[in-house]
């Protein structure tokens, strides 16, 4: 595999595309397929054949507005159609090059599309994720080739460090620093792991990236492998994401065939393989030491850190663990440079962040925005506000370790530090909007139930503490709790937060603490309305 070969594929692919006057992109992601987009694609292909139009129909990754699926985009004019059914196919094809089918048209001249900045999602919705040629035609694997042939591993790390990229899995640890530690840690073998165990309820950023642009992850991981000196990578992905797994398998096969993965990549002495490991329904495996235990075939129980996986990871070897979105940033950084990347975002949080915007909001879907954008812009401009004339109440970020942010903090910029300051957490990118009808004690109970059932059971505070806190919240929602119960709840929040072994337990009290901080009156109302006798009565 040489640069000429990449160029040849790219040229051929572009030439093939030139043959068609019209390009019809159909979203082929889990959510749109659930709304029959596979049938829409089939119908469009047949309609194009029947009409004999110079038109190419292709399945692509997420185009963002998942609630309006199936989405179809027509290029070169950029018309977007929403809620397309197979029955609409003929009409869409008929109108190609003419005025669009107005009843299906989805206005893209709105903040939802205009305010986004696409780095991670640059290929989503553009390429066919099951064809490596399409990826190559958009300069795919060029960054890898350049890194391998013109840069030393430490130069690669320097570029990542200079970009200011911070881990997108939640805590925001400096990616460059992590890579440096792994590179410097002595070990006869090293490993690179991609954490695709996206377990936060209400988050699907990683699934979309894996389904829509799997080669970007492979390329990012391979560059990382070169930088830290690893020859084996693992993608740990949830078994609940069968389509992502399938696309990754296809991508790995194609990349190997092309010589951009496997032995002697791009004709160099560097070899790197990637295997997929399936999760099996345990949220705690998102924690890196638990994830490692799971890849090793054991129960996903975290162990105390230090030692950190960067020094003592998979089978005791130095191991680099980044999440999907972090790896997806690597290729653009390598291709366009650290300065370009660090010009986006805020002083301490560079680049963009992908969010899964869901809940009580007009535009549900996947968005990518520059760091530093305000929550208000996300919720009211991009998200289109709250439907049915209801009032905004809170937005929840950071999943089960995160918090509920009230109206008063909506103007705060979205970055790692600001979110922590107001008692929430960046997390992996789930953003759930709640309207006035949501009860915050119920919300806190929902997340506590999640943490309780996902606790691995290894350490006492998390195992028993989450169960006790859940019981207290249950009592509150049943209007049976007393002030003493609330005080006990607050005491347990403190103990569990500071004594639990891993992030799951340490973060478990956050939804309670943040709702207590901003919506304490809702807890007090439950206590005032309570019938304290009910708790004692005979069953």
């Amino acid at each position: 595999m040489m640069i000429e070969d990449l160029q040849k594929i790219s040229d051929a692919e572009r030439a093939e595309a030139q043959k068609y006057e019209h390009h019809v992109h159909v979203c082929m992601e889990t959510a749109c397929i659930a709304s029959r987009s596979d049938q829409v694609k089939q119908a469009l292909t047949e309609a194009a054949e029947r009409a004999g139009k110079p038109c190419r129909v292709k399945g692509v990754g997420c185009m963002g507005l998942c609630s309006a699926g199936p989405l179809v985009k027509v290029e070169p004019d950029g018309t977007m159609y929403k809620g397309v059914t197979p029955e609409d196919a003929d009409e869409i094809v008929q109108k190609l090059g003419d005025s669009p089918v107005s009843r299906l048209e989805c206005d893209t001249n709105v903040p939802f599309f205009q305010r986004q900045v696409k780095i991670v999602l640059e290929n989503s919705g553009e390429i066919d994720p099951e064809r490596i040629e399409d990826y190559v035609a958009r300069d795919g694997y060029l960054a890898l080739y350049t890194a391998l042939t013109t840069m030393t591993p430490s130069e690669v790390i320097a570029q990542v460090a200079k970009s200011g990229l911070r881990g997108r899995g939640g805590a925001g640890f400096s990616t460059g620093l992590k890579w440096t530690t792994v590179a410097k840690s002595p070990g006869e073998r090293k490993f690179v792991i991609c954490n695709a165990d996206e377990g936060d309820p209400g988050a699907f950023m990683d699934r979309s990236v894996l389904e829509g642009d799997p080669h970007a992850i492979l390329e990012g991981m391979t560059i990382a492998g070169y930088a830290v000196g690893a020859s084996q990578g693992y993608i740990y992905v949830r078994a609940e994401y069968p389509l992502a797994v399938e696309r990754l398998k296809i991508a790995i096969r194609q990349a190997k065939r092309l010589g951009v993965l496997g032995e002697n990549i791009c004709g160099t002495t560097f070899s790197f393989n990637v295997d997929i490991r399936l999760g099996a329904g345990a949220f705690v495996c998102g924690e890196e030491t638990a994830l490692i235990a799971s890849i090793e075939g054991r129960m996903g129980q975290p162990r105390p850190r230090p030692p950190y996986p960067a020094e003592h990871g998979l089978w005791g070897y130095p191991t680099l663990i980044n999440n999907v979105e972090s790896y997806a940033n690597i290729v653009p950084i390598m291709r366009k440079g650290a300065d370009w990347f660090s010009a986006i975002g805020t002083e301490k949080s560079k680049g963009t962040k992908v969010f899964a915007l869901t809940g009580c909001i007009e535009n549900t879907g996947l968005i990518e925005v520059p760091m530093g954008i305000s929550l208000r812009e996300i919720v009211f401009d991009i998200g289109g506000g709250i439907p049915d004339g209801k009032k905004f109440k809170a937005v929840q970020t950071g999943g089960p370790s995160g918090g509920c942010i009230p109206e008063e903090h909506l103007d705060m910029p979205v970055d790692f530090e600001s979110l922590l300051q107001i008692g929430s957490f960046m997390g992996s990118g789930g953003m759930i909007v709640m309207d006035e009808t949501s009860n915050m004690v119920d919300v806190a109970k929902y997340f506590m139930e999640f943490c309780m059932t996902e606790s691995c059971g290894k350490c006492v505070p998390c195992r028993v503490g989450t169960a006790q806190m859940y019981d207290l919240l249950d009592k509150l929602t049943k209007n049976e709790a007393t002030m003493a119960d609330l005080q006990l709840l607050e005491r347990l929040c403190d103990v569990v937060k500071y004594t639990s072994l891993c992030g799951l337990g340490q973060g478990a009290p956050n939804p309670v603490l943040s709702t207590l901080r901003y919506f304490r009156h809702e807890y007090l109302a439950r206590i005032q309305e309570a019938n304290h006798e009910a708790a004692f009565l005979t069953d």
Binding site: A535, F536, L537, T538, D539
Partner: protein, 177 residues
């Protein structure tokens, strides 16, 4: 100097703590100089007095009658002492808590009864969903664990309280002994 008004009550327990109390033997006579026992299974009065300085509670809260009693006592007591494991932890009576009340009654009065299989329901208190330690129903000031606490421990706890101190039980008593 007026005597300290002391009460002892017996909720759901085996009366072992009261036996241990009596095991103070001759020290009871010394205490009698400083204490007036105003209410107790050991003395005559049937009504809990309006104003009591210290109440020792033996036993867990098992029935609606226990519940009413302990609330009344709390209202009229300055210092409430949970005496013994049943009061402190709900102990042996709480072993029924893993089961539903109906299951327990069935087992006791139907399945294991050879004659007159019938769950008593006339002039007996209603059982609560769970047997509870005293402090989960009303605030408790002093905890004296033990099954039962020894006479020495009880004597120590009472004399400390008489001196106006909070008894430190670290070397004297533990759960189960």
């Amino acid at each position: 100097m007026s005597k300290v008004r002391l009460a002892t009550v017996w909720l759901d327990g085996c009366s072992g703590c009261h036996m241990s109390f009596l095991d103070m033997d001759e020290r009871l006579i010394e205490l009698a100089d400083r204490i007036e026992l105003v209410y107790s299974p050991l003395v005559d009065p049937k009504e809990f007095p309006d104003s009591v300085d210290v109440t020792l509670v033996e036993g867990a809260v098992s029935s609606n009658e226990d519940l009413e009693k302990i609330r009344h006592i709390r209202k009229h007591t300055k210092i409430l002492v949970s005496l013994g494991d049943c009061a402190v932890t709900a102990n042996v009576p709480s072993m029924r808590n893993s089961f539903r009340v109906g299951e327990v009654l069935d087992r006791a009065y139907i399945e294991n009864a050879s004659t007159q299989q019938q769950i008593p329901n006339v002039s007996v208190p209603t059982l609560l969903r769970q047997v509870l330690p005293v402090h989960s129903v009303v605030p408790v000031d002093v905890f004296v664990p033990g099954c039962p606490p020894s006479a020495d421990t009880i004597h120590y706890a009472i004399t400390e309280l008489l001196e106006g101190r909070t008894p430190d039980l670290s070397d004297r008593s533990r759960f189960g002994a």
